[in-house]
Amino acid sequence: MKSGSNLERVILSGKPAVTAELGPPMSADPHEVIEKAHILKGYCDAANITDCQTAVVRISSIAGAVLALREGLEPVMQMTCRDRNRIAMQADLLGAAALGIKNCLCIAGDHQKFSAAGRLKGHPGAKNVYDVDTIQLIGILKKMRDEGMQQGGDKLQVPPKFFIGATWTPGGDPIDFRPLNLMKKVNAGADFIQTQGIYDVEIFKAQMEKARNLGLHEKVAILGGIIVPRNFMMLKYMDSSVAGVTVPKSMLERLKKVKDAAGDDKKKSKEMQEAEGIKITVELIHQILEIPGVKGVHIQAIEWETAIKEIVTAAGLYPRPTFTD
């Protein structure tokens, strides 16, 4: 085993892996992370602790990961290339490993422009870093783990043993390059992949076929991403505004019908749309897990972590595998 993480063990067991997501708060209070960890514990094999998603300042991924770990939830620490140079990255990787973190997801990170959205002022004028890109970061993690060496060539007394993750946007532009982009991540050293949210399973199927033709499904564990649609407006937003995400018309209409049927009663409308959103998610999980080469699902219930228990149970993915040794 490369890292000995729970996620790695589940993947090695051949059972479909389930990862979820935990968004830390804009607060120095640890309780929200602790509560969310309790909600997710037992219903996923590991949970991503986002690294200042949409470039908004929050409890850092490394600290959030340690808080989750203390509650018995295995974290996937996320690390963006946006905020750190290679010195800070490697220092944080050593620190994270020393604190018991075993999974790390390498991502480019949303541009700082996204931090100023809605009521948030954010830090759109921040200077980003991008000293290394995602594929280079994957390579750094691999070099540290497998060669016991820093990027610059200095030896590490004790190397950090991470299960290395990366993302994939199968439906993104330029679409014919996406399988090759995945191949580069695999060649750089990725052990697992979490994809961008999939609503249009046909697009994902077609891209998975290309990935299989490149033999990538045998070298990396691909977890299909699902962003739980909570209501019609959110799904519409995902379709129109999130890069690389396409929602089939039939799915949009399905949730719109539920919204319309609920009428003016806001509470009822919310409940009915959420129930339908969960149904859609469960269907998506089944469809995605049927695709050859897919090793699991990454379920993101954004600011709605309580939905995970119901989804995972309804999808027949509960209880999660446990290991005694």
Binding site: D110, D131, T134, I135, G139, D173, F177, L180, A243, G244
Partner: protein
């Protein structure tokens, strides 16, 4: 060329309002082509300052001048005595010109009249686009002549991020995704496979991160020295 933009007039006025004798000093190369700081723009800016001074009841003399290049002394040295009769030079040259003049002028302040913006080209009249980041270690042969450092918002070296949307960058539908362009260009060249090679972490020491840069051509310096001796 170097592309620049005019500063908001209020900002310029706040810089100059406490001086008595101001020279708006243009440069007739790059910043003239992008209509930011050539002789014409220097003249217009000088008139605007004059008008504002008159409206505000400020006693101020404002002149204007321009030379071909602010980055070589042979162009601006001949005018230096005249320039030194002012108590402020508002330079509408690029930042190179402002720095260079400030270093040579003596005890007179040189303020920037424009914002130096990027190295760019003119795809059509009135439009200027950034194409090079001046990183000091060119890899354009690997990316179809399209620079990932200057043209990808995140300067990614190995392919696009997940933010490409209909060929545009996640930051704006007005900004092309650099990697979308690179992939399309490599397809046109029949060489998409070349992008499969992983580019390792860059050595940024050739860019500004290695400190302010200097290029020395010893053979040219030797030649000049010899010529001087002969003379």
């Amino acid at each position: 060329m170097i592309v620049a933009k005019q500063k908001p007039f209020e900002e310029v006025w706040n810089m100059v309002k406490n001086f008595k004798k101001v020279l708006v000093y243009g440069c007739n190369t790059c910043v003239a082509i992008c209509h930011a700081g050539g002789e014409k723009e220097a003249e217009i800016l000088a008139s605007m300052i004059r008008m504002k001074a008159s409206q505000e009841g400020v006693d101020m003399k404002v002149g204007h001048a321009a030379v071909m290049r602010h980055c070589e002394p042979e162009y601006f040295d001949p005018l230096m005595d005249e320039v030194r009769t002012y108590d402020l030079v508002l330079s509408t040259a690029c930042g190179v010109g402002v720095n260079f003049l400030a270093q040579r002028i003596g005890n007179i302040p040189v303020y920037p009249g424009i914002n130096t913006t990027f190295y760019g080209a003119v795809p059509k009249p009135g439009e200027f686009i950034e194409l090079c980041a001046g990183c000091g270690n060119c890899i354009l042969h690997l990316t179809g002549g399209i620079c990932p450092i200057a043209r990808c918002t995140k300067s990614l070296m190995n392919g696009p991020c997940g933010g490409t949307d209909r060929g545009k960058c996640e930051i704006s539908q007005e900004v092309d995704c650099g990697w979308y362009l690179i992939v399309e260009r490599m397809k046109q060249l029949g060489n998409l496979e070349a992008l499969l090679e992983i580019q390792p972490p860059r050595d940024w020491s050739t860019s500004f991160h290695g400190g302010p840069r200097r290029v020395v051509l010893e053979h040219l310096q030797d030649f000049e020295e010899k010529e001087e001796k002969k003379a």
